[in-house]
Symmetry: C2
Subunit: 357 residues, 2 copies
């Protein structure tokens, strides 16, 4: 049994299975739109392309692991549909986020609004058209993730346990997006505020809620949900801190994301808040003058990176990651989890925190 | 019993009841966001203001009428929540639609993106900020309408009957929005295409699906659903044709909507398609040169209105409305409907078609 579970919990195999499920559910009609409807094939095709582009699938993976953490046994069809629904919902979040951040790329491809604009370059209003089509594409992804949940065939018990978590997750994400929108472009030394955004957008949305959702589908009790949180919240904060560091110090060839984006948009990250809080007056003026400039160049980034290092912000962020990573791992030292599931969660944690992309 | 039903079906009383329900559900937490969460009060406050601004409430009204058409009897709590969910979903659709159409106003107030921009005028990126905040506000409305459905307490039978209709309605709306986006700015003489958009965005989304939804919640059979369609689809087309006419010939003091908006954006309405199809070469050149110009002035509108009249497009649109209105009323001549419900549906039809706002 334990060996069976270890085989079931091979993360690469689960990842492939999730990709298969996603391709399968999207091949059928996404949200009431018949796939043979030629006139909107551009929209449905764009949704398929976006969702099926290679990705980490961390939310569906955690959902399946949550199921097994709660002793769900053989995975049921409804679990796969809910896991797929999380990934399609995430497509919604990314598509709208890329519009808001004015990001030109996503997963090494053009972002959705840029791709629409390029395909309709002949229109005089191509750029605005691209944004508008991408708003609708994000909406379609959200509606499609609902349709997947609505047709998942959940039992009454599962619905009562899972749907409030889904509603909470969505509200938390949007709350985080809104706070992020307010803070972006004008980062301050308010570390707590930056951490609050990281907690909502990443710790809860990316790690805790997907794990809770899978666990709830398998009938988890409060004790297990609390254990999931004890693992997920520090891990999620560490995951976001790693993202912040990669956004400034990362290798664009590996991250697939231009390394100047976060600095140009003036993302209010914990990393930047630490630097601003500790900066000497001259360093502070440099940061204020450069961070958030749309025309920021690599030589400006070099100056900012130097300040992030000299203020100790980079080192502090690294220690915060280590401390949180260890706290997440410590939460797994419990009899509540079968050893193979604890091992899989350790592997996920390592991937989330020790990475270059 | 029949007299009781007639009292129940007083449209103004129903409208007030819907407003009460909306205020009540929004006062509690919309989607997992606690109402006391100060930092996002701007977002949740904007959602409340938008949804609670005076409106026709036609979708919730039709949902309740569908319930009674199917003999649902005393309205259940779940019906009100589903009806409210339709109105909150509609807020989502309007908020994103106003961004896409670049509409400055909605219901005599600033549209959501303009209101956000005005409140954050001190930001150097106030206009972009307004659009981005409104994207999130629309998303929140959609997530909130889901949370209302998820917590409506539907029985298994109701869920199985209603949720596929909801999914279909949402897919149809987005399909209509996408076709509308593609066609706007470059209207053609393709009357069928313009009618296809009207059918998706209005006939199905605004009239048929809300009626179906209420009827399905009360256990309607296929025969009754078909009857609802026979009434709803022609009525919805007539409703949209009336909107098209008001968008060009309406009195802005009554419609609350600048009368040049449709012409400036180049809406691909059935009315415009009729004119373009019949226009003499010189009329055609005038329409091509003026319709869709962002800087179109009242004197241009006067020239366009004259062409809409001389080509007979305006008269044809009026006859199409009359023909469809009569077809909708004829569908109500059946023993399947109790007389008070048929009377209420007749009243709704008259309000939809014979109006100045």
């Amino acid at each position: 049994m334990s060996t069976d579970l270890a085989a079931t919990l091979d993360l690469d195999a689960l990842h492939d299975r999730i990709d298969t499920v996603l391709a399968d559910v999207l091949r059928r009609s996404p949200a009431g739109i018949p796939p043979q409807e030629d006139r909107v094939r551009e929209l449905t095709g764009a949704l398929n392309d976006f969702v099926l582009a290679p990705g980490k699938r961390i939310r569906p993976l955690l959902c399946v692991l949550g199921w097994h953490a709660a002793g769900g046994g053989q995975e049921e069809e409804c679990l796969w549909r809910m896991a797929a629904s999380l990934e399609v919902f995430h497509a919604f979040a990314l598509i709208h986020d890329d519009i808001i951040d004015n990001s030109p790329t996503r997963r090494r491809r053009s972002s959705a609004h840029r791709a629409f604009a390029a395909r309709h370059r002949a229109r005089p209003d191509a750029d605005a058209f691209g944004v508008h089509a991408a708003i609708l594409l994000g909406d379609l992804a959200l509606v499609c993730s609902d349709a997947l949940m609505n047709s998942a065939g959940l039992s009454k018990r599962q619905r009562q346990a899972a749907l409030p978590l889904v509603d909470a997750m969505r509200g938390e994400l949007l709350m985080g997006q809104h706070l992020d929108l307010l803070a972006t472009g004008r980062p301050t030394g308010d570390v707590d505020e930056a951490m609050a955004i990281a907690r909502l957008k990443t710790a809860k949305y990316t790690i805790e809620r997907p794990l809770h959702l899978g666990a709830a589908l398998a009938g988890a009790d409060r004790e297990l949900l609390a254990l999931c949180s004890a693992y997920a919240l520090p891990l999620g904060e560490a995951f976001q801190l790693r993202d912040d560091l990669l956004g400034v110090f990362g290798d664009p060839a590996r991250t697939g994301k231009p390394v100047l984006d976060d600095l140009r948009s003036g993302k209010a990250t914990v990393l930047m808040a630490l630097a601003l809080r500790r900066a000497a007056p001259e360093q502070r003026s440099t940061l204020d003058a450069l961070v958030g400039r749309a025309d920021l160049q690599e030589e400006d980034a070099v100056r900012i990176r130097r300040i992030l290092e000299r203020t100790g912000a980079r080192d502090t962020a690294e220690s915060m990651i280590t401390e949180r990573y260890e706290r997440a791992l410590a939460a797994l030292d419990t009899d509540l989890l079968a050893p193979p599931i604890a091992a899989a969660l350790r592997q996920i944690a390592a991937r989330a925190v020790i990475r270059t992309a």
